[in-house]
């Protein structure tokens, strides 16, 4: 096959696939609505199949032609309402469609595909209908007329001669066909030797033979104006005047879009009509309308309107040889070589023009806009075009462009941005001389940005491209599994980058299969438990936080977290201890573990244990995340969060060993800054691997420069001076980029990370010039649930980078995933975390777990004195500190999300409503601070919402920004500043930081705590709180005081013992890890005092079953996390009950 043909064939495949894509949903609609289906849909189906048939014929793809031909016949019947769209019909069509798909996906092998079964089924339906249809229908056109309906077209279509007898409803028997007079006919003029279709009845309409050659002027005029000719069988039943009125009305209807050229039999005047005896009057109509529109205009049965072709040579005579008309002749001739039969001009045209126009126009009312519906040849041709006038409502035109061209455009748009940036920089100087230069640059600037944005948009496709295949899949699955499933699709118009779309199909299919197989119960079971018989599955796409969320929700059986745990235990994927400690959420996430199948039995739909893990890996490869929520008996929701594009990602630019690298923000958990002076405290060595102590876990560390073998510049102060300058220049840009990132792409978390780092840098600039206080940064990265820290010298910028493929020469380097070009035009490498981990030979299963356990008590105690706190600034400029473990999460929120409902402020976030609490106002401290900035300006800035780590609470504390996170000693002063809801204050970095008691603050704000402690009243009782950390001591005391205890405090075991010997106490709450005498030793000593039976509660920051065991052995009643007020008080209340 020549190259040209190859290209054409490629187009055919592409177009046919597009047709198939629309045929499927339409068939499903047909199945659902049966005979009530809108004619437009049936027409579309017919046209789709027809185009495939025509084009396949052109290429001699006999198998495809045959199958589509029989499908077309069946659809033709349905279209003419001579056959009802029964399930048998749609079934056969769907199976035919599948076969077509298979053949078209591998065109070259299509000849060897056996489609005879499908054809046979369709044929048998057609045959079976032949009698019934005829009996039922009196539609005149179904039956061949005594005068054939369209002899005029015979000369135009040499292929007609070879017509196989398969097509029943196409053309007329030959007997009475008048030989087309003086038509420049092909050698064989004979219409098909076709047997009369059964059911021909005596009242068949009088046919009409119009020879267009008789009306050369009209034809010429029509060709120029793009009119087509149609034959219309006007019903002439009824009384004389009625006939006339009908004719006049028809004429009037047509007056604006065409005209009645002639009638058959000819009539001289309208008066004649009253005496007309025939049941049908044939009109020759010239109109700009297409057949469908003409039919709807005339409100006539589709079968009453037939297109009439303009013979090629006639058209050529009257029109200059341009456009598609001349070219179509040879095509038509080739067409004749294969056994394609064109039953109308519509078809002939479709075939002729199929390969010409590249301009497409999506049809109105279709589901998708981008995938398009393939061409519609008639719209674009020269002779028969009917763009103007009564054409369908204006639709946006689309143009097919190759992806590589788009990529090039994106590339160049990126270059343009760089050039713009350089020009902007240069412009600063030029502007002093040429004052008009500034506005010019600004103009260029804005145009450039818009170009880049639009070019990126061009790569976007609506998710409906993927979504649209699911109705079919769900239908098939439901049948196979004997379930009833209603699939609802929303948000199909949401756009995603082509690259993302391409990789979305498989994971989503997996998920849908799972839902149909496992989640949705059998109809009878559903009815039993009071659910509607049909399961509801909702597939939705929507934007959130600059990501696209795709959610799949069902109202099925839900996932039993306990069962998942059990399964995982059986398979040895988790240990018993892990299972016990595992939250429901974590347990649900186990279904993403490889090899875990929840299906009770393996079906051929799903249940082989491959599936959800593949989903997760695939989605993560796309830079997305998967979350799952499930309620037993209620249903499951799986949410995929995906980036809009893979071509541009938010990344942190870091430097290591004097080289800059890009680190994708997906997977970046946080950035920890380590001052050199703190290095010794924070970085330890376990085995021979460096680890970072971060809160209460140990993070394996990887030095980026070391792994990559880049020569290290440590300390990185050597060349810092120049770099500093460059940095400060860039800072303004960085800030801009951050804002853009916040608006455009990265998550709130990522943005806040950026902000934190930026603030750090500004504050610490002075620190770093001091050679004794050099700083390194640890990027905490998450790879498949495991975290590790990557040490870099500097964090430079947060940037949206354009991802470019890695040259093949570096493919074997694990550490890099791609390249990018930075703002200054230099090339930079994008780090691949997983590869880096592999290169650094970190094996999580050993390192992390082992190190977490193996830390000896002493070190743990030493480290535990430090508290991890988040420093936040309130709207009024107060600085507050909240212990990290009190915080579930911190969200960046736009002030726009703030609402006042019933006089109280609320935040809408993540689909839920949070009560907004301003801690400074609640505690009556707002007057103390100074206003940090222009209040109006603040109105627009993003706010921070701290969601406290209290179960079932829908409230958040509102701050204006995060200042920092710190791991530090807190020397809490409870006297200097007093307010209700305040633990006290402390000095951190020479600033006064207030420590609010989050629980009390929420209560003050009128929020009901989930576990009301009011029934616990221990007034009059005395408690001793032992803790070496003043802050925790104050905290615990505060909790106990809140329920009435009279609290005494001791800072270690010795002091506590002394106090126990002196006074009377009813409760002892002690920290476990203390210098001198620790909690266990204290517990050991207690029986020797007068308080032998005193209830003891242990507090600890790192709780584990080991520790709990030891506590029970030592005689403690319970062991609770240090800052967990609820648990502490619950234990206290239980004790009371025991009393």
């Amino acid at each position: 096959m020549s190259e040209e043909d190859d290209e054409l064939l490629g187009m055919f495949v592409q177009e046919a696939s597009e047709h198939l894509e629309t045929i499927e949903p339409d068939l499903l609609t047909l199945e659902e609505n049966g005979d009530d289906t809108e004619p437009e849909i049936i027409n579309r189906l017919f046209r789709g199949v027809h185009s495939i048939k025509g084009s396949a014929g052109f290429f001699g793809l006999t198998n495809i032609t045959k199958l589509s031909h029989s499908m077309e016949n069946l659809l033709g019947k349905v279209r003419e309402r001579s056959m009802s769209a029964s399930p048998a019909v749609t079934d056969s069509l769907l199976s035919g469609l599948d076969k077509l798909k298979a053949m078209i996906s591998d065109v070259s092998a299509s000849a060897s595909v056996d489609a005879s079964e499908e054809i046979r089924v369709i044929q048998s339906i057609l045959d079976g209908d032949a009698g019934g249809g005829a009996a039922k229908s009196a539609a005149p056109v179904e039956k061949p007329a005594e005068k054939p309906a369209e002899p005029v077209k015979a000369p135009s279509d040499p292929g007609e001669a070879d017509t196989p007898p398969a097509e029943e409803n196409a053309s007329a028997p030959e007997e009475e066909a008048p030989p087309p007079p003086k038509a420049p006919s092909p050698p064989k003029v004979a219409p098909p030797p076709q047997a009369a279709v059964p059911g021909m009845s005596s009242d068949a309409p009088v046919g009409a033979g119009f020879d267009l050659a008789k009306y050369p002027d009209v034809v010429a005029d029509s060709v120029i104006h793009g009119r087509r000719f149609f034959l219309f069988h006007l019903d002439m039943g009824g009384a004389g005047p009625e006939k006339r009125v009908r004719f006049v009305q028809t004429k009037a209807l047509l007056s604006s879009v065409g005209k009645v050229v002639d009638t058959d039999p000819p009539i001289s005047g309208e008066q004649d009509l009253e005496g007309y005896t025939g049941s049908v009057l044939d009109l020759l109509i010239a109109t700009v309308l297409e057949q469908d529109l003409l039919i709807s205009l005339l409100q006539a049965d589709a079968s009453r309107v037939k297109p009439i072709a303009i013979p090629q040579d006639l058209a050529r005579q009257v029109a200059p040889p341009k456009g598609t008309a001349p070219a179509s002749a040879p095509v038509a001739a080739r067409n004749g070589d294969v056994d394609v039969q064109s039953s109308s001009l519509e078809e002939a045209n479709a075939v002729e023009m199929g390969f010409k126009p590249r301009l497409r126009r999506p049809e109105p009312g279709t589901l998708t806009t981008m995938t398009g519906k393939g061409r519609d040849g008639r719209d674009t041709g020269g002779t028969a075009a009917s763009k103007g006038g009564g054409g369908p409502p204006a639709v946006e035109e689309t143009l097919r462009v190759s992806v590589s061209l788009l990529d090039e455009l994106i590339n160049m748009a990126g270059e343009l941005v760089l050039a713009r940036n350089q020009l902007t920089r240069a412009a600063v100087e030029v502007q002093t001389q040429f004052p008009h230069f500034g506005p010019l640059i600004q103009n260029l600037d804005s145009i450039t940005s818009r170009i880049q944005e639009k070019v990126m948009q061009a790569r976007m496709q609506p998710v409906s491209v993927v979504f649209n295949k699911f109705p079919r899949i769900v239908r098939d699955l439901a049948r196979k599994l004997e379930k009833k499933i209603d699939l609802e699709i929303r948000g199909g118009e949401v756009d995603l980058d082509k690259s993302v779309i391409e990789h979305l199909s498989d994971p989503l299919t997996h998920m849908i299969r799972n839902v149909a197989d496992h989640a949705i119960e059998l109809p009878q079971d559903r009815v039993k438990i009071g659910k509607p018989e049909a399961g509801r599955v909702e597939l939705a796409a929507y934007h959130e936080n600059g990501l696209v969320n795709i959610s799949l929700a069902d109202d099925g059986a839900g996932i039993d977290a306990e069962r998942v745990k059990q399964k995982a235990l059986e398979r040895g994927q988790i240990t018993e201890r892990q299972a016990d400690a595992m939250s429901e959420e974590d347990a649900l996430n186990l279904i993403f573990a490889p090899g875990l199948s929840m299906a009770k039995k393996v079906s051929d739909v799903s249940g082989r244990g491959v599936g959800m893990d593949v989903v997760k890996t695939n989605i993560e490869k796309l830079g997305g995340t998967v979350t799952i929520q499930s309620k037993v008996g209620k249903g499951t929701t799986i949410i995929l969060k995906l980036p809009l594009t893979l071509a541009i990602i938010p990344a942190m630019i870091v430097s290591s060993g004097n080289q800059r690298f890009a680190i994708p923000e997906i997977g970046l958990v946080e950035i920890v800054r380590i001052a050199e002076s703190d290095r010794a405290n924070q970085i330890e060595t376990v085995g021979n691997a460096p680890v970072l102590r971060l809160r209460n876990m140990l993070l394996p560390l990887v030095d980026l420069a070391e792994v990559l073998g880049v020569s290290r510049v440590w300390p990185p102060g050597g060349d810092n001076f120049d770099r500093r300058e460059r940095l400060s220049d860039r800072r303004a840009q960085a800030r801009k980029a951050r804002d853009a990132a916040r608006l455009g792409g990265s998550t709130g978390l990522a943005a806040s990370k950026g902000a934190t780092v930026g603030d750090d840098r500004r504050e610490e600039a002075a620190d770093r010039r001091d050679p004794n206080n050099l700083v390194a940064y640890v990027m905490v990265l998450n790879v498949g649930g495991n975290e590790f820290g990557m040490v870099v010298d500097e964090v430079l910028d947060s940037e949206e980078i354009v991802v470019k493929p890695l040259p093949s020469y570096f493919k074997d380097n694990l550490c890099f995933s791609a390249t990018t070009i930075l703002g200054d035009g230099s090339v930079s490498l994008i780090i691949d975390y997983a590869g880096l981990m592999e290169q650094a030979k970190i094996n999580f299963s050993n390192v992390e777990r082992a190190t977490r356990m193996d830390l000896d008590e002493e070190r743990r105690a030493a480290l535990r004195e430090r508290q991890n706190i988040i420093l936040l600034e309130t709207g009024t400029g107060l600085i507050m500190g909240i212990v990290h473990s009190m915080v579930r999460r911190v969200e960046k929120i736009s002030p726009k999300l703030l609402d006042t409902i019933g006089g109280l402020p609320y935040v809408r976030y993540d689909g839920r409503t949070f009560r907004a609490v301003y801690p400074d106002q609640v505690m009556g401290l707002e007057g103390m601070g100074y206003s940090g900035g222009d209040p109006e300006e603040e109105g627009d800035a993003d706010l921070c919402m701290v969601v406290p780590n209290i179960p079932n609470i829908q409230a958040g504390l509102i701050f204006s920004r995060i200042i920092d996170t710190r791991e530090t000693h807190i020397d809490l002063d409870c006297r200097a500043i007093r307010a209700e809801g305040l633990f006290g204050s402390a000095q951190i970095d020479d600033r006064v930081v207030l420590f609010p008691d989050v629980n009390t603050v929420l209560v003050l704000a009128g929020i009901e705590m989930p576990h009301t402690q009011s029934q616990v009243d221990r007034s009059g009782l005395k408690a001793l709180v032992v803790d070496d950390t003043p802050f925790l001591r104050a905290l615990t005391s505060n909790y106990l005081q809140s329920v009435g205890f009279d609290v005494d405090q001791a800072e270690d075991g010795q002091a506590a013992l002394a106090k126990l010997k002196m006074g009377e106490f009813d409760l002892l709450v002690t920290d476990l890890n203390m210098p001198g005498m620790d909690g266990f030793e204290l517990a050991h000593e207690v029986p020797s005092t007068i308080h032998a039976d005193i209830p003891m509660i242990a507090t600890t920051s790192s709780i584990s079953s080991d520790v709990e065991q030891r506590c029970f052995k030592a005689g403690f009643v319970s062991c609770v996390p240090a800052i967990d007020k609820n648990r502490l008080l619950k234990v206290v209340s239980l004790m009371q009950a025991r009393d």
Binding site: N411, P807, Y809, F810, N813, T819, I821, S826, V827, S828
Partner: protein, 164 residues
């Protein structure tokens, strides 16, 4: 054929000009940690990421030779890719231009563009110094100079894959 010539130390080298996309003064390039030592790094030329080969190191010159050349301002000969050559000369693309990624070669000095007659191209003499015969397509004598026509595919490491 037309040959774009340049020097590398004492060597007088040439590349079929159809394979050459452009020639730039050398610019700052980003080293790729862990890559072969004869790969100098990556360049950005109008949005394309170019892998730059250090031709001297590729030819196996010792450290001294390289250091000497490193100080002088060099030039980068940026090659066309397979698909670019395909549009001009499909035959040549198949036989001599297997690389798909944009690449460049760092050379010392630029020479003229020379027209040479294919018949004058001789097989590389056995006693050639400074370059392995594996990288040589052929030699042409020019004004008492020996012009060595580079086998770029071999230089880029495609030799075995192609001939094998």
């Amino acid at each position: 054929m037309l040959v774009s010539t340049f020097t590398l130390g004492d060597l007088y080298l040439g590349i079929d000009i159809v394979l050459v996309r452009e020639i730039n003064r050398s610019m700052e390039c980003t080293p790729v940690p862990g890559s072969q030592d004869y790969i100098r790094g990556m360049l950005n030329i109008r949005g394309r990421v170019i892998t730059l080969f250090d031709l001297k190191k590729r030819l196996g010159w010792s450290g001294d030779d390289v250091a000497e050349g490193g100080a002088v301002k060099q030039y980068n000969v940026i090659m066309k890719t397979h698909s670019e050559v395909l549009k001009i000369n499909p035959g040549l693309a198949e036989s001599k231009c297997p690389w798909e990624d944009p690449v460049g070669l760092a050379v010392d000095q630029l020479g003229d563009v020379r027209e040479i007659v294919d018949d004058n191209i001789l097989p590389p003499p056995a006693n050639m110094r400074g370059i392995s015969a594996d990288f040589v397509h052929g030699v042409v004598e020019f004004e008492r100079n020996l012009l060595i026509i580079l086998d770029v595919a071999a230089v880029l490491g495609f030799d075995e894959r192609q001939s094998g």
